[in-house]
Symmetry: C2
Subunit: 192 residues, 2 copies
């Protein structure tokens, strides 16, 4: 690990692939937080709080280094969709999303020792009406598992998504444009 690397408390393959587009050196490490959603906060605050928990769970091991955490929420009519634990939950989530517009919010935390900066980015995503057969076929692909809201926008769900409003990369799991601006600010010593 070179001294200029940043730390990313994530093991998500999607987030790892995305952050490479920022052209910086990152070290990945699993977060040790339990990712519990605080229901007393707004969705935006709650997801930034989880991102902060992730970053703080490992920052003690990396003194003086920039540590990132990120997490993503899918929200439909005030209901929060996490990762489906089984086929049944995936089916319920996808049936609910079918023909509707939902929100996706990704929160990011940037931590260095005692300092931190939080931000989020969001988008609205509209699904076409999916038939029962289409939902079942999508679940069979196994893509829904381990994904908030039971779908991957850049994967086999793409053919069912008619419209996006907002930050596409927040939907994928990491708001690249905002993160890039914040990292430049960090490098210019104007972030903290």
């Amino acid at each position: 690990m070179n001294d200029k690397s940043y730390i990313f408390a994530s093991e998500s393959p999607r987030r790892k692939a995305l952050i490479k587009l920022l052209d910086r050196s990152f070290v990945f490490t699993p977060s040790k937080s339990d990712e519990k959603l605080d229901r007393e906060l707004s969705f935006e605050e709650a997801i930034m709080d989880i991102a902060l928990q992730k970053a703080l769970s490992v920052s003690g091991e990396y003194h003086g280094r920039l540590v990132l955490g990120a997490d993503t929420l899918v929200v439909l009519n005030k209901d929060v969709f996490g990762k489906p634990k089984n086929e049944e939950q995936a089916y319920e989530m996808l049936s609910a999303l079918s023909g509707e517009t939902h929100s996706v919010i990704t929160g990011v935390a940037m931590v260095r020792d005692g300092q931190h900066k939080l931000f989020y980015s969001k988008a609205n995503v509209t699904f076409d009406k999916m038939s029962d057969q289409e939902i079942r076929a999508y679940i069979q692909s196994e893509e829904p598992f381990n994904k908030a809201g039971a779908y991957a926008i850049q994967g086999l769900a793409a053919k069912h998504i008619t419209k996006i409003e907002g930050d596409y990369y927040a939907v994928m799991g990491l708001p690249l444009a905002k993160l890039y601006q914040h990292i430049k600010a960090f490098e210019n010593n104007t972030l903290f």
Copy 2:
């Protein structure tokens, strides 16, 4: 080539990767049209017309088969941006897009013998302000070449893109959700 394959008059690696998400069998073949933009048409009509030229340029070789063509336009303040031919043109395009919102329109043509169906899908894309150094670095990556508007939304340009409104896949070069609906209509004999 099996009898159920569809034909796609495209050799774009991006379009090939996208159309695989539709879970159908496709044969790819280069189009033989000169892709000339008809300035007397609206942008939407003009790009559908080019998609049609592409499909028709090969459909004579595939009697009774469904043949697709597609093309993408980038439009900023009534100026059309095609593929940059050199660094200078890439620089001009990216400088113009910097800090602005532009439109991306993808037209699609579906042809079978004498019948055809045309449609398009579009999105507005907002770029952050990019510095001269950032534009030069992006051109050095060579990603801008061979791409309408001199950028790839899913590539190294991602960190400069703050917002999308509309069909993300139209920006990538193939409107998957609309195409999927049209292909289902074709298979149900309700398209033509």
